[in-house]
């Protein structure tokens, strides 16, 4: 690990530090901070040469960061905890979303009103999503899982369909497809409050603290500007990287991120501190993993899996 992390960092000492960021999906507003910072040149200003690598269904963010093929990646916190437990050298260094926007989408008239009602239902979701295990355990229910295929067609065509979705994206395509806006069941309402996070290779982070700090500072500035300023530079870059992005979609998704306070957090007190991570929430997430017997008690330590050291300090 050391060797590859060093070579990744060392190869660029000459001029500016090269950083590869592995995205979890094709470029979309969920990557708004990154693209805005990139488009405005703030990474370059900080002496960083940043490459944003589009993801997809097989983005393998944690594996690519863990093996040093990328230095930083965007992902989800509980899954990342599991991968850290499996031995990947990962460190969660900043929040993207204070709440992971993965929710269940339902039609308005669907009789399911609560998680308990999911018992015996069919749900399209990623079978590996820890939240599913969490629901089964917490409510003592079971349901049938259909593998997630990244499409909303079944949802539009079938009034009884329930599926996992990023609620800052799918609802747009659902309404565009002629169906009424869906209802959501939020994971955090069940007590499952995972983050959308930035993950760094921990060895690289240890060896390049300055670069990481500079990166996160530009990143936070990027989000702030994307949310409160003119998103046009980021959107132009997103369209260049993915020509299927339409203005309507980009605008919708950004609006959802703003309205749902995903980046700033629903906790008004801290809303200026974009990217903040709360160790107490990590302790709860580790507890969830231990309760589900996905890792033995004590195997995961909060200090080892996340760090707020690299974030810009609170004003």
């Amino acid at each position: 690990g050391k060797k590859s992390a060093e070579s990744a960092a060392g190869s660029s000492k000459a001029s500016s530090t090269k950083i590869t960021v592995q995205l979890d999906w094709f470029p979309e507003p969920e990557h708004g901070g990154l693209f805005q910072a990139q488009a405005k040149g703030w990474f370059r200003e900080a002496g960083l040469e940043v490459t944003l690598v589009p993801g997809g269904p097989n983005a393998l963010v944690n594996q690519r960061v863990g093996t040093g093929q990328a230095q930083i990646g965007q992902g989800e916190s509980v899954t990342t905890l599991l991968d850290t437990h499996k031995g990947l050298p990962l460190l969660q260094v900043a929040a993207v979303f204070q709440n992971d926007p993965s929710v269940f989408l339902l039609h308005a008239e669907n009789p399911v009103r609560d998680f308990k009602d999911l018992n015996g239902r069919k749900i399209m979701a990623r079978p590996g999503w820890v939240f599913l295990d969490y629901l089964r355990q917490k409510y003592a229910i079971d349901f049938t899982i259909i593998p997630f295929n990244f499409s909303v067609s079944n949802f539009i065509a079938d009034k009884d369909f329930i599926q996992q979705g990023f609620y800052i994206a799918e609802p747009y395509f659902i309404t565009q497809g002629g169906a009424p806006a869906p209802r959501y069941l939020y994971a955090w309402d069940a007590g499952y409050d995972s983050y959308g996070v930035l993950i760094a290779n921990s060895e690289w982070a240890k060896n390049n603290p300055a670069a990481l700090r500079a990166f996160l500072a530009a990143y936070v500035r990027g989000w702030d500007d994307y949310l409160h300023g003119d998103p046009a530079p980021a959107h132009a870059a997103m369209k260049a990287a993915n020509d299927k992005n339409t203005d309507g979609f980009l605008e919708f998704s950004r609006r959802m991120i703003i309205e749902e306070k995903l980046v700033v957090g629903r906790d008004a007190a801290d809303s200026a501190r974009i990217g903040r991570l709360d160790p107490a929430r990590y302790a709860r997430q580790i507890q969830i993993i231990e309760d589900l017997k996905l890792a033995p008690a004590g195997a995961l330590k909060v200090e080892a899996v996340m760090s707020t050291d690299y974030l810009p300090s609170a004003k």
Binding site: G1, K3, S4, A5, N62, Q63, G66, T67, G68, T79, L82, D83, K86, G87, L88, P89, K122, M124, R126, P127, G128, W129, D142, F143, T144, I145, I146, P147, N149, S151, S153, N154, A157, D158, L294
Partner: protein
Amino acid sequence: MNSRALRWLLPLVLAAVLLAGWQVLHHSLPPTRRFLLPSLPQLAEAFRVHGAALLVAARYTALAALGGFALAAVVAAFFSLLLASSGLVRATLYPYLMGLQMVPVIIIAPILILWVGPGAPSVILVTFLITFFPLVVNTTQGLLSVDRAHVDLFRMGRAARWQELLLLRAPAALPYFFTGLRIAAILAPIGALTADYLVGSSSGGRSGLGITALLFSARNEIPALYATALVGCLLGFALVAAVSGLSWLVLNRWHDSYSPSDK
């Protein structure tokens, strides 16, 4: 004697060499990447831990594979006979059958889920789609490749079309059919696994190998993922062995591929 002993020994030696090579490769990888190629003890451990679950999943996938395979064999035999029955039918139908094979499963997955429903029926259907075409191509080619002199015999005997097809072309095409069957046998379990991955369903903690693989993959349980792939391979080998046995039974008495090299 000697050569017969070799025939058993050499594959075993190669297996040992490959396993040793695997183990060496594992240890020669940088530690951060070692997880990509689990060591043999890790694999064994994965089998120990997940063996029971894999067995359940394998049974489910094996049934789907067999279902799709059997369906493909029957339907392919039928369509091949139809295609071989006349050039006109061939020109008319072949492109659509090809088209059927060329529909990407990943694209029709939502439609299958909606119209056929997730789970076994869709998995069997996808397995069928994947295994069907090699069978049709091979069998049709076999039906067309029949010895000209034998066709003349049947024409002289004023055989009806169907007689020529069933009594001459069908048996003559058997070696081709079995070749197709062997390909289909290899494709069926992996096709069923893939189908399960795309249009399967899991409930009560029971699922096929595809969803199991998806789960292991999401949890980064690489040794278990390899174990899952291995179980898929074993299913494939079992099916191939069955087909080869059947092929020998049917063909050995007359086909040149089974004639002893010296008598």
